[in-house]
Amino acid sequence: MIKDSWMFKPFSEKPIALVDEQGNWVADFPMELPPDFLRGLYRDMLAARLLDEKFVILIRTGKTSFIAPHAGHEAAQAGLAQALQRGHDWLFPYYRDMGLMVAMGMPFKEIFGQMLGNAADPAKGRQMPSHPGSRALNIFTVCSAIASHIPPAAGAAISMKLKGTGQVSVCTFGDGATSEGDWYAGINFAAVQGAPAVFVCLNNHYAISVNLSHQTAAHSIADKAHAFGIPGYHVDGMDVLASYFVMREVIERARAGHGTALVELEVYRYGPHSSADDDSRYRPKEEVEAAKKRDPIERFRRFLEKQGLWNLEWEEMLRADLKAQIDRSLEEAEAMGEVPALAMFDDVFAEPTWNLVEQRELVREELR
């Protein structure tokens, strides 16, 4: 029903929010979402949060070598995941999207396999942790190189348009990514082709230590859409319903043939940039504490409670169930063991070239 009458206007003065801090629905249209769906959003956010906490333990115990905390991004991630047609649309994510992977339906075991880089990883331990990908779910394999996935996301969208598959290419990235030339060049190509691509910035205002004020003088990330002649939406990404409703509309606009769009979801990164970072070097504790007070999960909990969809009992059940799933999946993933050493020579090409065959022999000899 939303497809025909677009509710949200681009280039809004303030970020679009539908639920206030107290959990009240403040939008000018009826919410109309089924209880299970709303509870599902909460579950996805909670799962993402618990996964983030588990990752910290993986690092502490030396079971993984790198994590990119996503706590604070959960509302944006859960809302986005429900807005696209999972398994049909394509997602081009980045390294801080493990929470999004959960909401997209990637099994915890696969996620841990990737974090461990062992045999449970569908990518055979080829990449550093926090770099997932899934052919089965149409989730493009994450590349460390910031914004390098933007032109491929544009290309996939152009392909979708040429083939008329009715798919949408959705691409996520951070605020720092918007300074890369490839970010601009890729979106510009999708936009001029009117391709069904939606580019989604998770703006947490920091690129490692660099504050957005050193990244660009633009009024907002959404405002950069003017450079491409496409709509730019500025959204409160700590509001899961705002994230969901806007993303759903924007994605359906693209699917309906209205072309490319840019969405800015305002979030905050609670943790350090990564396990290698010390954020106390560049931002005051108070700033972090203040952000945490606006926690997206608690905000949505208040909303659900007001709707009579939440109580402590259910919360505890849900947490216990998720924790159990997470622990079991980690065990299952660990049980899969290492990837074989010589497998490092596979998948360079469909068929190994002679130089790779020679080089594999050197390692075989070495391991004997």
Binding site: W90, F92, R135, T141, G155, F189, T353
Partner: protein
């Protein structure tokens, strides 16, 4: 059998592959209405429409990067970079995305795509219309790189590149685009990637080259024949994976080798071939394998012809290995 120039052979290969496989599409700057600045894609947009023969914005990153996404999504894009010198704004898309998609995803995603580019000097184009950057590609695991030198090979290799399941950089020496015509079958034929061609048989020394320098290399071989020296001439055609077997077989026979390429010398494909010859054939060598290459500097304008290996420089080097 029609006789075609290299540029016509490219056009024919693209036309045949687009007719054969609906997934094949062409994209790049000026490839549409204009038919490409060298007319490689002339007539294709009229025939296949603006969707399958797409004028891109002026961004090599957008071109190569979009090709990666199209390929991952099931198309077979043939991207044109207007000059090899201009691949660098899109270089990250080539080395960080195209070359690594299959590997980093454990084979879940692939990038079957071709990146075509006119390459090499000799056209008074200055250093941004003359460079030969194949070493950058050959040094990048996950890329295959072809440098053609004849119309016949061009058609057969371009078709193989388009059908290959991995990213292929396809380099076309622009000074050869219209240099010669030769008979090129209109029937289907493919030339395998990774197989060199022996252009001339000989026993006294082996001249290994590829691309534009094949011209001077073959001239040099003729001059040598004139003074009773029989040189075997090998055209690598593919520089990664290059045809080690054919090269070593020839040098084992002749005991003498020159590797000739107009690319800069330092850390080049020529260096790779020379190093491999020394590594594997030391005892059969009657002289050191020498390289005749371009120079380690930007390509000049005024001295356009002097930068590339000339027949004289090849003969001077041949003299060294023969008199050794």
């Amino acid at each position: 059998m029609p006789t075609l120039t290299m540029i016509q052979a490219i056009n024919a290969a693209l036309d045949e592959e687009m007719a054969r496989d609906a997934r094949v599409m062409v994209m790049g700057e000026d490839v549409g209405k204009r038919g490409g600045v060298f007319l490689a894609t002339e007539g294709l947009q009229q025939k296949y429409g603006p969707d399958r023969v797409m004028d891109s914005p002026l961004s090599e990153a957008a071109i190569i990067g979009a090709a990666v996404g199209m390929a991952a999504h099931g198309m077979r894009p043939v991207a044109e970079i207007q000059f090899a010198d201009y691949v660098f704004p899109g270089f990250d898309q080539l080395v960080s995305q195209a070359a690594k998609v299959r590997y980093r995803s454990g084979g879940q995603f692939t990038a079957p795509m071709v990146v075509r580019m006119p390459t090499g000097g000799g056209v008074k184009g200055g250093h941004h219309h003359s460079q030969s950057p194949e070493a950058h590609f050959a040094h990048t695991g996950g890329l295959k790189t072809i440098v053609v030198s004849t119309p016949y090979d061009t058609k057969g290799l371009l078709k193989s590149a388009i059908r290959d399941d991995d990213p292929v950089v396809f380099m076309e020496p622009k000074r050869l685009y219209r240099a010669v015509k030769e008979e090129v079958p209109s029937e289907e034929y493919l030339i395998p990637i990774g197989k060199a061609a022996i252009r001339r048989e000989g026993n006294d020394l082996t001249l290994v080259s590829y691309g534009g320098s094949m011209i001077e290399t073959q001239k040099a071989a003729e001059e040598l024949a004139g003074v009773g020296i029989s040189a075997e001439v090998i055209d690598l055609r593919t520089v990664m994976p290059w045809d080690k077997e054919t090269v070593l077989g020839s040098v084992a026979k002749t005991g003498r080798a020159l590797v000739i390429s107009e690319a800069p010398r330092m850390a080049s494909v020529a260096s790779e071939v020379a190093a491999t010859i020394a590594e594997e054939l030391l005892d059969q060598l009657e002289a050191p394998p020498l390289r005749v290459t371009g120079f380690d500097m930007p390509y000049p304008y005024a001295q356009d012809k002097l930068y590339m290996p000339t027949v004289t420089r090849i003969l001077n080097a041949a003299k060294r290995v023969l008199d050794y």
